[in-house]
Every structure is written in C-alpha cells, then in structure tokens.
C-alpha cells in the first residue's frame, strides 16, 4: 500500500513516523516548503540568531532514508480523488492508496488595501522567514498587525535585532480574548517595558505603496500614518486548502473530518491545522491550529490507516508559549470570560512577571484548570488532577508536587494557598513541597 502525506510539518511527520512503526507500507511525504522537517515554532530563533536552520530540524537527513520515508519536494496542485492521483507543479502525477492531507495554515489577510505589496508578510513558513530576513537590512521600522502568539514572536524578533517595532492590537489589552485580565495586563506591561510600541484598540486601515510596489507606511484605524519598511500580518491563520477548492472534498473553513480523521472521500484523511472536526469534543474548537493537536492527530491517523480504528481524543487541553521573557503554560479549562461557576485563585509575584491561577468549580470544588506565567508546572500532575475532578483543597495541599521550576527556585505554592485562605476564610496548609518522588508516586497510582 502506498500512503502519501502532503505536508512535512509536525502533523505529517508524526503520521509518517507512526505509520512506519506500525507497518511496512510505502510512505511518500510531499512538501513545497523545505526538504526536511523543521520545527515551525523555532523559526523565530533562526532570525534572532539563537539557532541555525539545521538546528531546528529534529531528525538528521539520513533518518528518512533509514526509516524508508520517501521525501518529495514539490507543490501539489490538484488532488484527483476519483483516480487517486495527485498532480504536481512539476507536471508529474503521483498515485496513492491512502492520502493524508496535512497542509497546515496560511496567514490571514482581511482585504486590507496594499496587503499584497512587497514587504508585507505573515510569519508561518520558512519562506516568510526568508522574506523577513530579506527586508531586515537597513530596516528602520516594522509594524505588526494582530496581537496573538505570532504577533508577539515577530515583535520579539525585530526587537532582538534592535529594529523599532510598532505593534497594533485590536483588543484593549494584549491577547485578552484568551488570557484572563491580570495575565493579559502582565504581558502587555512586559511588551511595553521592553520598549516595543504597543498600541491597543488600533487596527490596520491601509498599507501604502512607495510607488515601486513596496510598502512604505500604514494608516491605522485611528487615522495615524506610520512610516515603516515592513508590515507583519499576524492576525491569525486559516487552513491552507485553496488548492483543494475545485475537488470533491468537503470543505468549510478547513477540510471537514470525522472523529477518525476521515474526510468525506474514502482513503483520504486530514490532520493538523488544515483539518476541521465536524464534531469537536465539548469545550473544544473544530480547528485547533497548535503544535500539540497536530502531533496527536498524526499519531491517531497512523493507527486508523494501519487498521486500528481509534477516535481522535485530544485529552485535557494544554498549551504553552513564551512572551519575550515570560513563559506561559496552561492546563485544562481557563477562559478569558469565565462562566459564573468558575472561581479563580490568582497569585502574582510582586515584580509582576510571574503568576499562578487555579480555576475550580464554585459549586462542587472540582479543579478545572491552571494558568502559569513565569512558573513551570508538571503537565501530567495537573492533567491527572483535572481528569480525576480533584477537590481544590486536595490540590492546594499537594500543590508543590506540580511545581516544575528548576532546583533552587523559590516556591510560591504557600502564597497561593494564603490567597485561597484569604478568599474563603479557610485554613488550608501546604503539605507537599516540590519534588520528583511524590509526583511519581502520585502518577503511578491508578485512576479509581
């Protein structure tokens, strides 16, 4: 059987690796972007000089041959599902028995005047990185539009090269549609204290042409004109499915799939950023364009292709990011605008660059989620607490077990508990300090 995977990002590569573990099928992985898999999330570090492009490749070049995963550098122009053929940009066609679509995302453009000028780029692909590099020599100013995770990455990149940045954010605080207000304020403060010109409630109205087809300035929704040599469009991404428009695959925002990651056409699967679940799990979105879900989907699709039918289960939500110098981790349910029954314990360090938020259900005291800024918590411990609907007071007493900060770091769990005691008038005490053995014993205990 010949399995063809379109896309060599984390989803496609995980699928290929697991198909190889489970079977001896012929595997071909097609990418128009790069010869080898690299970590997309690490693009910023290449620009900032932290790593070479080669360092972002998790596997050495020989890995693919050794594991009999054929790599093909080409762009797929058309998928002919009836004849199970792919038409490539080099004029060749390739046939498949099963097809995995893992084509990822493309940067959003909302019809702004001038959005296709030279010097206007998103940050998603390796080519985007090359474009940023190309425009950076002698660059006096960059404007970034859209305050999500990619926006702040791009701001940090230019900042690292001492290129002044103006960062336009539609919201009243940075990313406050996802982060709770205090965390959102913390990150906003941190962006500003780094000397980045962060503008709230400001949108892009127009990008100006310098007369040669290159961007030279923008006008904001407030009517201000800002001269700049580069405009970063980071207002989110959408599934990269344009080349499928004329086929018979069912498309909405993304490629529509069921819980087995199957599309409406037999033997065609879709995973990762480009896929849209027809029935996502409660509390989850149909398209989750993040690294971890892509990886889980890749693993799941491998089982399904190799004859072990498994529904896609993304488990308890988790994510992480880094806002310049502030690390961010989230486990479980944590909403910017929480419903009535969500009660939070929020502790913030006096320097304003660390915080711990624990959310629980006011009605039954079950723990729901953790939001960490500048503090590291153990994924599996938090997950187990949430999965087992642990009582918040049990969690608090054992909280040290979750701490994953390096040795000799100050532990703040007792202060979190003080916060809880003040809020509730109770007198809970911390019974567990940071340490591996307790966490391991806890994790080994079987779920009742």
């Amino acid at each position: 059987m010949h399995i063809v995977i379109i896309g060599n990002g984390i989803s496609g590569v995980t699928a290929a690796r697991y198909i190889r573990k489970l079977s001896d099928h012929k595997i071909t992985m097609i990418s128009a972007e790069t010869d080898y898999f690299f970590s997309r999330t690490a693009l910023m570090y290449i620009y900032m000089g932290h790593m070479r492009f080669e360092d972002t490749q998790p596997y050495e070049p020989w890995f693919w041959e050794k594991n009999r995963i054929d790599l093909l550098r080409a762009r797929v122009q058309q998928v002919k599902t009836a004849s199970k053929e792919l038409v490539l940009d080099n004029g060749k066609t390739i046939t498949y028995d099963k097809l995995v679509l893992a084509t990822g995302s493309a940067s959003n453009k909302f019809g702004w005047p001038g959005q296709d000028l030279d010097g206007v780029h998103g940050l998603y692909s390796y080519q985007d990185l090359e474009a940023m590099e190309r425009h950076s020599a002698g660059l006096k100013k960059a404007v970034i539009v859209g305050g999500g995770l990619i926006g702040i990455e791009m701001a940090e990149m230019f900042h690292a090269r001492h290129i002044p940045v103006t960062f336009l954010v539609r919201e009243t605080k940075y990313w406050n549609n996802v982060l709770p207000p205090e965390e959102s304020a913390m990150v906003s403060r941190h962006i500003l204290e780094n000397g980045i010109d962060l503008r709230f409630e400001t949108e892009l109205k127009e990008i100006h042409d310098d007369g040669s087809g290159k961007a030279c300035a923008i006008t904001t929704s407030k009517g201000e004109r800002i001269e700049c040599g580069f405009v970063g469009l980071t207002a989110g991404v959408h599934p990269n499915i344009n080349f499928l428009k004329d086929g018979d695959l069912k498309l909405e925002k993304g490629i529509v799939i069921n819980e087995y990651l199957e599309t409406n056409i037999a033997d065609v699967y879709a995973i990762g950023d480009c896929a849209q679940l027809s029935e996502p799990r409660p509390g989850r979105r149909p398209i989750e364009a993040i690294w971890y879900t892509g990886r889980m989907m890749g693993e799941t699709v491998a089982y399904n292709i190799c004859g072990k039918k498994i529904a896609y289960d993304p488990g308890i939500w988790f994510n992480s990011a880094k806002f310049i110098d502030i690390e961010y981790q989230v486990y479980g349910t944590l909403l910017a605008k929480p419903p009535e029954n969500h009660q939070a314990i929020y502790w913030e360090h006096k320097e304003g660059r660390k915080s711990i938020r624990i959310v629980y259900d006011r009605n039954n005291s079950q723990v729901l989620g953790f939001n960490l800024m500048g503090v590291r918590y153990r994924h599996e411990v938090c997950e187990k607490w949430i999965k087992e609907k642990t009582n918040i007071e049990t969690v608090l007493q054992q909280l040290g077990m979750a701490n994953f900060d390096p040795e000799f770091y100050k532990e703040y769990e007792a202060e979190v508990i003080t916060q809880y005691n003040q809020q509730t008038g109770k007198n809970i005490q911390l019974k567990r300090k940071r340490g591996l053995d307790a966490a391991l014993r806890f994790l080994k205990k079987m779920t009742p």
Partner: protein
C-alpha cells in the same frame, strides 16, 4: 559605549600580555646564571667564558635561549668528561652531571633572571597593564549586562563571527592538522621513537573504521554544522591563539619567562617563591574563570541553579585549585588539590607523588587516603544521589573553565549520531588507557621492575602525559572551545568523566525529566547542550534524558522556551527511568505506546 571601551581596553591588555615575553632584553652575567650545584656552576661559568656569551646583549629571547642551550650542552659534556676522570668524594653521579631535564629547568630560570628591560624592572606595572587591564576591560564589558531584563541571552549568537562556529571543512582542517601536528611532535617527544605515534594513529584509524564501517555511520551524513559560507573568523583566531598558548605552555615554557616575571609578586605573596609557568597558568585560569563566571551569572540571572552552580565552580577553582595548594607549599606540605580525582589527576599514583605524600607526615597520609576515598567511595556515592553533575559542573576545574570561559561556545558541540559514536569509543578508550597506565606504574612502584611485557611503564606514562594530559586535555580541550564547543575534553577525553558516566548511566537517581507533552521540538535544548546530547530527541517523545555524558549543567532546562525540562533526582522509578515515555500520546485500551 562603556562596553565598547571595555572591549577596547581588553584588546589593548591582550596585546600587551602577548608582547610581554618578548619585550625584555637578555644579558647573561655571572650573577644571573641559575644553578643548583657548585659543580654545575663552575662548568657553566667556564663554558660561558669560552663562548663569549657573558655580557652580550640579546634583543630576542629566542636567540638567547638558543645560545644558552648550546652553552649548557657544552657544560654538560665538560661535566661528563670530568665524571669519567672520577667523581669528587661523596657526590653522586647524577648530582654531578648535568641531566637533560635539569637543562630545561636551568634555561627557564636563567632566561628569567637574565632579563633586563621594562618588564623585569616593573613586574607589578606590567601585571596591571596586561592582566589587570584585561580584568577591568572585561568587567566594563560584562557589568552593563546586568542592566538588561533577566532571561535568555542568545540574540545574535549564530550571527556573531566569534561564536557562530565553523563549517565541517574548516573544522576537519583544524582537527586533522592538530592531530597530525601532535603525532609528529610526539615522535620527537618520545626520543624519535615511532612506536607511540604510529600506535596512536592505528587506534584513531581503528575507531574511525568502527564508527564508519561497523557502526554504519559512513552513509549517515550528519546535518551541516554550518552553512559553508559562514565561518566564525574571530572564533578561528581565538582558537589559534589558545592552541598556540597551550603549545608554548606545555612544550616551550622557556620563552614565557616574561609572564612568570609579572606573576612573581603574587607568587611570593602566596607561596613565598617565584612563579613557574604552572603558577602563571593557575593564576590566569583562576582570573579568567572569575571574570567569565561573572558574565555567566549575568547571563543566567533568572536562574538560581545556574547562579549557584557558577559561584560554586568559581569558589572551588579559587580556593581549592589555586590558593590552598600554594599555601600548602608555603607551609612545607605537598602541593595538593583536594578536589582533583584520579584518573583525571593521572599522576596521583606516580612514584614521586606517592613518595612525597608518604614522606609528609600525617598531612601527607591524610591526602593519600582522601584521594583514594574520593575514588572508591566519593565518586560512586555522590553520583548515585546527584549524577555526575556534583563534580563536572559544580566542582571540577576543567568543567569550571568550560562553563565560564567556554560558555559563549557551548552551541558548537556536534549533535550528530556520528559524533556520539566517536564519543563513546574515545572517552572509554582514554579511560582504559588511564587505568592500564596506572596499573603499570603501580606495578613498577611495587616491584621495581619497569618493563611489563615489551613496554616500559616509564614510556607509557610519558606518552599518556603527553598525548592525553597535555595534547588532549589542554591543546584540544581548551584550544578547541571556539572550534568544536567548550566540552571537547569532558565529552571525548576525560577518563574521570568516563567513570562518572558509567555510574550515572546505570545506577543513579539523576535524570532530566521531560514535562509531559509540552515539547515543541524547537531544538534550543540540543543546540545549547555543550555535551552534544540531542536532548530534543528524548524530550519530543516524552522520555527522560539519561545519558552517561550529561554533566547536569542545566542549560537545556534554562533555555527551554516551554518549561519542558527539569534536572531531578528521584528513587521511585530508578529501574525504569530510562525507558518510560511520558509524552501525551493518544490513549485507548488496546493501543500500546511504541517507541
């Protein structure tokens, strides 16, 4: 601006420091000839009068040393002839004759005493103009770093001509020519005996054969270590400077007497005597570690583990490796570094050391017992509890220099699988060599017979000292910082690290834990692993990192942008700490997680 002034001052200081050995003239006269016996003195005086060297002004120490060596050879043959005619009463043959090793010592000391000029006249001033100014320049560059926000400071490392590393071709050129140079010099070092160099070459070829053919690495071409067009030219200059420094230090210290002169005031303060090249080396080593240690702390200000660990290596170098041994010497005890452990301290079991320790009273015996207890109890016990990091990145001097002076280059270690294969052959090879050499030396010590099979234990230990102790640990170990990363010696060579590694790999509570499924495979951990461990390969599949080579520096955990890695000691899972996968994989009854 202040930082630029700092760099400027440092460069001026470096230039002055580099010139100091050639600034002075040399004039030989009867007052400044160094000897340790009247017979030698008489013979040398006669020879000096005959060849007319007395009173002659030498602008260059090279010609002075050449002529003076010649003079000593003349004196040597004079004494040789006199000895044939009969030794004076009560004087041993070797006290009377002038041995080759004595000549080396006399050349250094006389060259130093015969110096006239600005450096000899003002050693203190020149210490300040070179080392003192270097410290000031360095601190002016480093202290402003404390103003930035705490956090990862890696911007521009791979764009910097000092730190971006070499292409495979350049690296191969340096490595190849260094190896060839060492083997050629080794031939003359061993008295023109080809056996040692050829034997070593055979071992190198054997290992390459095993890695490339038997372990099938030939077709597994590693990723390019740098784009061919990008080469760190400042790194190359620094590497060459360091390599030349070590070559002179080990094998031609007679040309470096200017540095000894400027170190004299400090030496007299500490041990009461004049500075040798080893005092100069210890002084520079300590000062560099202190200054660059401050830099390391500024860089990892957000990370208590890094700050405490760096302070620890700075302390152990200053107190235990530098000051305490000098004070011991002053108090007439043997020179002893209480934290140096065999087989890194490869001459611990040499006859002269054992004799010295055993003839130094209770203190000497304590030192001997302490050294042995560290080897057989200290190393396994501490490594069981904490991993090898308690030594390699908290105590050790070699590790300390790597973590301070070498920190800017940690990203240059080779992460390829091929490098790992080489590593295991070479480090364990050196370890076996060290153990066999020590066994032979002890055999000779106890039996008095120096030949074992067809080898003389004297030659074996000389070759070990030359090849491993000097060439590998010094010339390559430190000289290659800017070329192949800062832990070349610790990773590929150190026999003690090999010993630690076996315990850490098979019986220790230490591991680096992966935090569930949070890894994004970005590669910061692997890139900044000075030991060349592909940390990401483990982290992205949720596996603990248990590797013999890991020195527990903790930088992988520090640079991880997602909070994935943590250095931990735990006993609950000691049996399965290497195998368990912790990443969040899909889960359903009947589906097993495959590796």
């Amino acid at each position: 601006m202040i930082q630029k002034i700092g760099i400027g001052l440092f460069l001026v200081a470096l230039a002055i420091f580099t010139l100091i050995p050639v600034l002075d003239h040399h004039v030989l006269n009867t007052d400044n000839i160094y000897t340790e016996s009247d017979y030698h003195k008489k013979a040398i005086f006669e020879a000096a009068e005959e060849n007319g060297m007395l009173g002659k002004d030498y602008a260059s120490n090279i010609t002075f040393i050449k002529d003076y060596k010649q003079l000593l050879k003349t004196a040597q043959s004079k004494l040789e002839e006199q000895a044939k005619a009969g030794l004076p009463e009560g004087v041993g043959e070797w006290d009377f004759k002038l041995g080759d090793w004595k000549i080396k010592d006399y050349v250094i000391k006389t060259s130093k005493q015969a110096s006239v000029g600005p450096v000899s006249a003002n050693p203190g001033l020149f210490w300040w103009l070179s080392i003192g100014l270097g410290i000031i320049g360095g601190l002016l560059y480093i202290l402003p770093l404390f103003k930035s926000f705490p956090g990862i400071k890696h911007n521009g490392i791979f764009q910097d001509p000092m730190t971006r590393g070499l292409s495979v071709g350049w690296r191969g050129l340096f490595l190849g020519s260094t190896i060839v140079g060492i083997l050629i010099y080794g031939y003359s070092y061993m008295g023109n005996d080809l056996f040692w160099s050829l034997g070593t070459l055979a071992v190198i070829l054997f290992i390459t054969f095993m890695v490339f053919i038997v372990q099938k690495s030939a077709k597994n071409t590693p990723a390019k270590s740098a784009s061919p067009s990008v080469t760190a030219w400042l790194g190359i200059f620094s590497g060459i400077y360091l390599i030349l420094f070590y070559i002179l230090l080990y094998w031609a210290p007679q040309y470096l007497t200017g540095w000894m002169t400027i170190a004299d005031p400090l030496s007299k303060m500490l041990n009461g005597g004049e500075a040798s090249q080893w005092f100069v080396y210890g002084m520079l080593y300590t000062i560099i570690m202190l200054v660059m240690g401050i830099r390391m702390i500024s860089k990892y200000r957000h990370n208590n583990y890094q700050m405490i660990r760096t302070a620890s290596v700075m302390f152990f170098q200053t107190a235990f490796a530098f000051i305490l041994p000098e004070i011991l010497v002053r108090l007439n005890y043997p020179y002893y570094d209480f934290k140096n452990i065999w087989p890194l301290d490869y001459d611990f079991f040499f006859d002269w050391n054992l004799n010295q320790l055993m003839s130094s009273g209770k203190m000497g015996i304590f030192m001997l017992v302490w050294g042995i207890v560290l080897i057989i109890i200290g190393v396994p016990l501490f490594t069981f509890f904490f991993g090898k990091r308690w030594y390699c990145s908290w105590v050790c001097g070699c590790g300390g220099l790597a973590e301070t002076l070498g920190d800017p280059y940690r990203q240059l270690s080779d992460k390829s699988l091929r490098a790992w294969k080489y590593e295991r052959w070479i480090i364990h090879g050196v370890m076996v060599f060290a153990v066999l050499m020590t066994i032979m030396v002890l055999y000779t010590y106890f039996t008095g017979s120096s030949n074992i099979l067809f080898l003389s234990s004297d030659s074996v230990r000389t070759w070990y000292g030359f090849l491993i102790g000097s060439a590998f640990a010094g010339v390559v170990g430190t000289g290659f910082y800017p070329l192949m990363g800062n832990r070349v010696w610790c990773r590929f060579g150190c026999p003690l690290a090999g010993y630690f590694g076996l315990i850490q790999r098979f019986r220790s509570k230490f591991r680096i834990t992966t935090n569930g499924g949070q890894c994004i495979s970005c590669g910061n951990c692997s890139t900044y692993c000075e030991m060349g461990i592909d940390v990401r390969a483990y982290a992205q599949k949720g596996q603990n990192i248990v590797r013999a080579s890991c020195v527990g520096c903790g930088v992988c955990a520090a640079v991880c942008p997602r909070g994935v890695l943590r250095l931990e000691n735990g006993s609950v899972d000691i049996a399965e700490r290497t195998t368990e996968l912790k990443a969040i994989h899909i889960s359903k009854e009947g589906v097993s997680i495959l590796q």
